[in-house]
Symmetry: C2
Subunit: 498 residues, 2 copies
């Protein structure tokens, strides 16, 4: 064996894995955006088979031997980072007994079905047994992965979405949000109540026109249509592979407001993927760094860039032209206030950026309690409703508007929720650093020119792939680890001073 032969052999194997994962990713997109209903069974078999093939490749005993041998080889910085990511994947794939993997797959599939029924009838009792099963298995998984990774069960689950992320790191940050956000929200609402309500533009806004405008804005933001496309699906997402990104959105013909920002949100995800290090394509080190960085990229584009006053001013004539409309609803000040309207409500995905973290604080607290065994699933609705009231003052009267509102837990996503708000704070901190480095950014966004911002993101975030941990990436890019200062400062400036 020469100097790097074990490492090279791993690269070949992980390239094969990337091809299988890429195939799965395209098939997921197709399922959401193209597939007729009757194709579901065949598609489930295709995806299950690809998952099995991937698992067989990754748990091949030779992989462990190769990783151990490669660790003794002379590698450069990127190769070493790639090897670390290979080990992480191998560890995650081998940490669980096949029995547990299979039980989990069945339980989460049952859980999603139970959630659909329960949510439609707004009756948590219909999903309780399925969720109990899932929480039991999630605790087992957390223990097994935790044993392999040297982590406590919740951190082990969180690590699956946020490699290297630990509750001990986000706890003080979230505690600060919990102290500061409720009074800040009250102040924002008080100020907002003293001003006239923004006027809603009156539709209809034909889907074809919304799409044309969305494509134009995507292009302005730097989305590369040689390597991606925009389609429709009931739940917008950014799928596909870095060389071929498949964005989806949905069109509400009665309003363009949230749809257009939805496209820009997904575009933020897509720009990240399109900017991942091309030289390392198909290797683990060229993958996104985790969910908080990924979410930071969508929120940076949507919340920091596109809901800014400068960008809304750029948008106004485009909206007028696209929909052949004019009048008070199409004045820049009115649209800016529409795009920054704050309104606490029950549903997380509809939340404004001031209220959003309150949803996350509650979910994070509840899921940790369930995994720790401190909260029984049967007591979830009551705990939810009390917690939500304490944070927002709103009374939850229906499970549909409370603990049944999103599918995450019922599909097995425990440890994911914190990354949404870490993403929001990361976005603010990165945007602040970008403005420091390139003060021309706001003025350029006001002309629909994302190039200075994108160039900075490419250099400091996208092009880094998974070379370093998320905290290290953020420290290198902004000079400090994650804290809530930039985010809270952004909210104060936009909602109390702007």
């Amino acid at each position: 064996m020469n100097q790097v032969s074990a490492y090279r052999s791993l690269e070949t194997r992980f390239r094969r894995l990337a091809a299988i994962e890429g195939a799965s990713s395209m098939l997921w997109w197709d399922q959401a955006a193209m597939m007729p209903a009757g194709g579901a069974e065949a598609r489930a078999e295709q995806l299950a088979e690809l998952k099995l093939v991937r698992h067989e490749m990754l748990t091949d005993p030779l992989i462990r031997d190769l990783i151990e041998a490669a660790e003794g080889e002379t590698l450069d910085e990127w190769q070493r980072a790639n090897l670390l990511e290979m080990r992480r994947r191998w560890l995650n794939a081998t940490a669980l007994e096949p029995r547990l993997v299979e039980a989990w797959s069945r339980a989460t599939s049952d859980g999603e079905m139970a959630w659909r029924t329960a949510r439609a009838k707004s009756d948590f009792a219909l999903a309780r047994a399925a969720l109990e099963k899932i929480v039991g298995l999630a605790r087992e998984i957390g223990q097994a992965k935790g044993a392999a990774l040297g982590l406590d069960p919740y951190d082990a689950l969180h690590d699956g979405y946020e490699p290297g992320g630990r509750a001990a790191d986000f706890d003080p940050i979230f505690a600060r949000l919990e102290r500061e956000l409720p009074p800040l929200l009250a102040a924002v609402l008080e100020r907002q109540s003293r001003r006239p309500k923004p006027v809603k533009p009156q539709g209809p806004f034909p889907a074809a026109k919304q799409k044309a405008l969305g494509l134009k804005l995507m292009a302005a933001a730097g989305f590369d249509f040689e390597h991606g496309r925009l389609d429709e699906s009931p739940h917008p997402f950014c799928g596909g592979v870095a060389e071929d990104l498949r964005l989806t959105t949905r069109y509400d013909e009665s309003s363009f407001v949230s749809g257009l920002m939805g496209v820009m949100h997904e575009t933020g995800h897509a720009l990240y993927e399109q900017g991942l290090p091309a030289a390392w394509r198909n290797q683990p080190v060229a993958e996104p760094r985790g969910m908080s960085i990924h979410e930071s990229q969508s929120l940076l584009i949507e919340m920091q860039a596109c809901r800014s006053r400068a960008f809304v001013e750029y948008l106004v004539p485009l909206l007028r032209e696209s929909f052949g409309a004019s009048g008070p609803a199409y004045e820049a000040e009115n649209l800016y206030r529409l795009y920054t309207w704050v309104q606490p409500g029950y549903i997380r995905v509809d939340a404004d950026e001031v209220t959003y973290p309150l949803h996350i604080l509650l979910r994070t607290r509840l899921e940790r309690a369930m995994i720790a065994g401190d909260l029984a699933v049967a007591d979830l609705p009551q705990a939810w409703n009390e917690g939500f009231h304490a944070l927002t003052g709103l009374e939850v009267k229906e499970d549909r508007l409370g603990c049944l509102q999103d599918p995450h837990w019922y599909g097995g996503d425990f440890g994911y929720f914190p990354t949404y708000s870490m993403g929001a704070m990361t976005a603010a901190q990165l945007f602040q650093a970008a403005l420091g480095a390139k003060p021309e950014i706001p003025e350029r966004l006001g002309r629909g020119d994302f190039r200075p911002l994108l160039a900075w993101l490419r250099a400091h975030v996208h092009g880094q792939g998974s070379k370093v941990s998320a905290p290290e990436l953020l420290t290198r890019a902004t000079g400090r680890p994650l804290d809530p200062e930039a985010f809270l400062g952004h909210l104060r400036r936009r909602y109390l001073e702007g």
Copy 2:
């Protein structure tokens, strides 16, 4: 091991193979109909990986042992047929050394590229070396497969498209066509020349309207949109899997004539796939029986059913309504003559059904001579041009209109061409039998009602899958093996008497 355990184990393995093949099939469709250009490299890696995984599964030494063990087990008729198909696949996958498979993959990929360039410049010399390489390898493959299957090299290649098909069987049939078609064509042209030319409807015909009409006709023919969809691609095809068929077409806004029939042609393929035996889904016995039967289903729908006078009469008001048009071009007699216009030309894919087999006779003769070593690749253009002139009276002045017109050979398809005309004759023979069993078919087609025809095809063709050989299927369905009588009779009735 119980009675059928080896067989059951094979079923499980072939179900996994079907999932991999299905995934590949969806990705091929996506590549043709959806993928942005920049996705090509990633897609090529995905497809190559799936091909490799499939090959590894199919050549697992255990498969041979299981097949041998299963052959000693008590199986019912369908299981026995399924086992035969499993053996055939295994034999085809293992007959070639990996070296040859790899060389073939590279040569055919190079060949397709060379063909593109050569065709664009209409210069065969630019593709000659690539084609020589391919013919050399095709002869090796024919010999290797022939040794495994007990066949001569050309039959071994033909068998890959038409399981059980032998040149000795189609030779006398093709000889008959070669004798009878040229004088028949002359008589058709002489008769046609004595009548006024049909009037071409004047466009533009917007793609959206053509699509709406195509969807309507597909639905009338019995296409199940719960299990399939219609999109666009430069080269129309029928892809996907039986439960999720992906048809494509292209729209020429200056004429609906060939586009609409193109949709019905692909619909014929799709109806076959949608009617394959659902109880055996994902097993080899539920796959289409070979290319001649597959082509017979598209030609039966397009040529026998949709270009019939009865169906064209049904079409007339729909066309008028779809395009808001009227006048002499939209009279039933005029449209029928447009849809049955005979015009010998250079390009096979544009050929009418009278001329088409002449193209196939020439190609079949030439490809057999190349595989036998009787025709050097360097001599192909001359042999083509002389042969084409002898059959049609037309002088080929450019390679683009001659031996460079289609990509088959340059992509390695040797042994495929005969199935086109076997398909046309099979279609005529099946349609004749269907009319005998259900005399109401023409009158029902005249009302856009395909149900009696489809029911007959479901029972006698689609639902049979690969249970018996193509000749046996045809004999059971029509009372006799393939002969050219029904086809020639159809041509005489439609073009000399109708």
